[in-house]
């Protein structure tokens, strides 16, 4: 049984069954059935491409609502670095921090702060002898899940460190407990302000046996609307950023990689580019590199579907914002040349082969032979009218008993033509 809780979901009242999302889904997880899109939760990696592409806004991400923070006594906001790139002419992150306090948070812990520590730890990790290279970043949960489902051979290449969101949540909670001994652990909430649905799913499901330290995940767009109402940039702000350039740059593609101060890195963004890079790494077809940063969204986290601003405009804003920032404000102590155990992921999720036809190879082979034969009979124009993204997927659906061959509109047209011909011929026969 599949127990993965997804954030991406469908508002069926808005769905017109138009097939757009199905065509854009990188894992072929969507089918259109009875005029409505259906998501296969085993194949879904929460990348958000369907949300990005739906012309009717029928695809959405289920997050916590901001009001849920009221259920806790002490509320800590964990803003993703991408939040800082959403505001026009912002020259001090402090205005955003003040805004978050004004809308009801008791404390703000920038994820960028934790990101700088993760960058430090990653640099240490890359020096470890015997690790499998290239090391692949696990900060983007879509990529981490994609590798677990589809690239099992690359599992040992994954960076086994907790991502910045988790490091931030754990640190923020510990610090709050220390500063406020009157509080109980369950009275404190860590609330991540997310640019994407994948972070929501990560917080709910964890990764492997790791359970997330984030209590609530609220969408960046919801927080943004509240923030712009309270952010007043005319008054002086004496709060300053908790991180430097390295931390905030994690919001854009190349930020995590360049923080390693190593030129043997590769950074890619956009889910299809990510998949082709992974294919190349698996084939051994890449130059010798130490680190691979992969972002499912175009431009990096600023391209997440829960952000407001166009990713490239956001990137430009971040460049402006970070211009006068110091390189970094957080680092691991000089004498700490090892990575503390609690900063490691305990394990990686077990390989759950996506798309396996059957548990037995022999049976799979028989099914695939049938699919291949059927595929050759189908028109091959991948129109999507049948409700499957392409003719091969349709053939598979038919063989697996999930679709009816008569759903193929082209084959149906041929059938009608044949009937008409027979009917015409019949008439002529009668007249003679």
């Amino acid at each position: 049984m599949n127990t993965y809780i997804h954030s991406v979901s469908l508002d069926s009242s808005k769905c017109t069954g138009c097939t757009t999302c199905m065509k854009h889904c990188p894992t072929e997880a969507i089918r259109v059935r009875n005029g409505c899109a259906v998501i296969d939760s085993e194949r879904c990696i929460d990348c958000g491409e369907c949300i990005r592409n739906c012309p009717n806004n029928a695809k959405k991400s289920i997050c916590n609502s901001f009001d849920e923070i009221k259920n806790y006594r002490y509320k800590i906001a964990l803003p993703a670095p991408a939040l800082m790139a959403q505001f026009d002419n912002l020259d001090n992150v402090g205005y955003v921090i003040q805004g978050l306090l004004d809308i009801g948070f008791d404390e703000v812990f920038e994820v960028a702060k934790a990101a700088e520590l993760v960058s430090d730890y990653t640099r240490v990790y890359l020096q470890t002898e015997g690790i499998k290279k290239p090391v692949i970043s696990t900060a983007c949960p879509v990529v981490a899940r994609l590798i677990a489902l589809r690239f099992p051979f690359l599992k040992d290449n994954l960076l086994p460190l907790l991502p910045p969101m988790e490091v931030a949540a754990a640190m923020a909670k510990e610090e709050a407990l220390k500063a406020h001994p009157e509080l109980k652990r369950e009275e404190i909430c860590t609330c991540f302000i997310s640019p994407c649905p994948a972070k929501v799913s990560y917080a709910r499901n964890g990764f492997g046996s790791y359970k997330s330290a984030v209590d609530l995940v609220v969408s960046m767009s919801e927080i943004y609307l509240r923030l712009i109402n309270v952010m007043n940039r005319d008054r002086n702000c004496d709060i300053s950023s908790q991180s430097g350039r390295i931390g905030v740059s994690w919001a854009i593609c190349g930020g995590e990689g360049s923080a390693l101060l190593n030129d043997k890195i590769l950074a890619a963004d956009g889910i299809n580019n990510v998949i082709s890079v992974l294919d190349q790494i698996e084939d051994g077809n890449i130059p010798p590199i130490d680190f691979v940063e992969l972002n499912a969204c175009p431009g990096g986290c600023v391209g997440g579907v829960l952000t407001i601003e166009n990713p490239y405009v956001a990137k430009n804003r971040l460049h402006t914002l970070r211009r006068y920032m110091p390189i970094a404000l957080n680092s691991v102590p000089e004498d700490e040349s090892y990575i503390p155990g609690e900063k490691f992921l305990p394990d990686m999720p077990s390989y759950k082969p996506l798309n396996r036809l059957s548990d037995s190879i022999g049976e799979s082979m028989r099914l695939m032979a049938k699919i291949q034969a059927l595929r050759r009979e189908l028109p091959g124009i991948d129109c999507g009218s049948c409700g499957a993204p392409n003719c091969r997927a349709f053939a598979e659906d038919i063989v697996m008993g999930n679709a009816d061959r008569n759903e193929c509109i082209i084959a149906y047209k041929d059938l009608i033509r044949k009937y008409i011909r027979e009917y015409d011929g019949g008439e002529r026969d009668d007249s003679q």
């Binding site: 084939d283 396996r356 082979m365 695939m368 291949q372």
Partner: protein
């Protein structure tokens, strides 16, 4: 009881010559198919590396060719067939670092002379059949 053997599955690919953009597509498709069959990840990786190297060789040296992948109960067999210039000295061609790739190909990062040695390293069986001026057929097998 008779142990029922499944019919071997055959995948057929045309490898487009002189087109680096599409080189590697067949190995990606094979990988997809093998995953669906539930073949173990290590076998898939070995097949796709051997296949990728072979594909690139066909593009560089032989203006493309055809690739056939036969999946049976105990192995994946890859047959790469081209009508290129042929290999005059197979023993020499099998040496690591030996390459006859032209400069324009080397400037793209290919032609390091590791193609055939890698194909041998990642497979359990490899046989080269080549006639100068007629073409080359390479047969490889990866056992489960």
């Amino acid at each position: 009881m008779v142990n029922y053997m499944a019919e071997p599955l055959v995948f057929h690919f045309e490898v487009d010559g002189d087109n680096f953009t599409s080189a590697g597509q067949a190995s990606v498709q094979v990988k997809k198919n093998l995953r669906e069959l539930g073949i173990d990840p290590e076998t898939i990786r070995r097949v796709s590396i051997a296949m990728y190297e072979g594909e690139i060789n066909m593009v560089i040296h032989a203006h493309g060719g055809v690739a056939e992948v036969i999946v049976s109960d105990e192995s994946v067999e890859i047959i790469l067939k081209d009508t290129g210039p042929g290999i005059p000295n197979i023993e020499q061609a099998m040496q690591e670092g030996f390459s006859t790739a032209p400069d324009n190909v080397r400037s793209l990062g290919f032609g390091a002379g590791m193609g055939l040695p890698n194909m041998k390293r990642y497979t359990d069986y490899m046989h080269i059949d080549s006639v100068v001026g007629v073409g080359t057929t390479i047969t490889m097998k990866v056992n489960y």
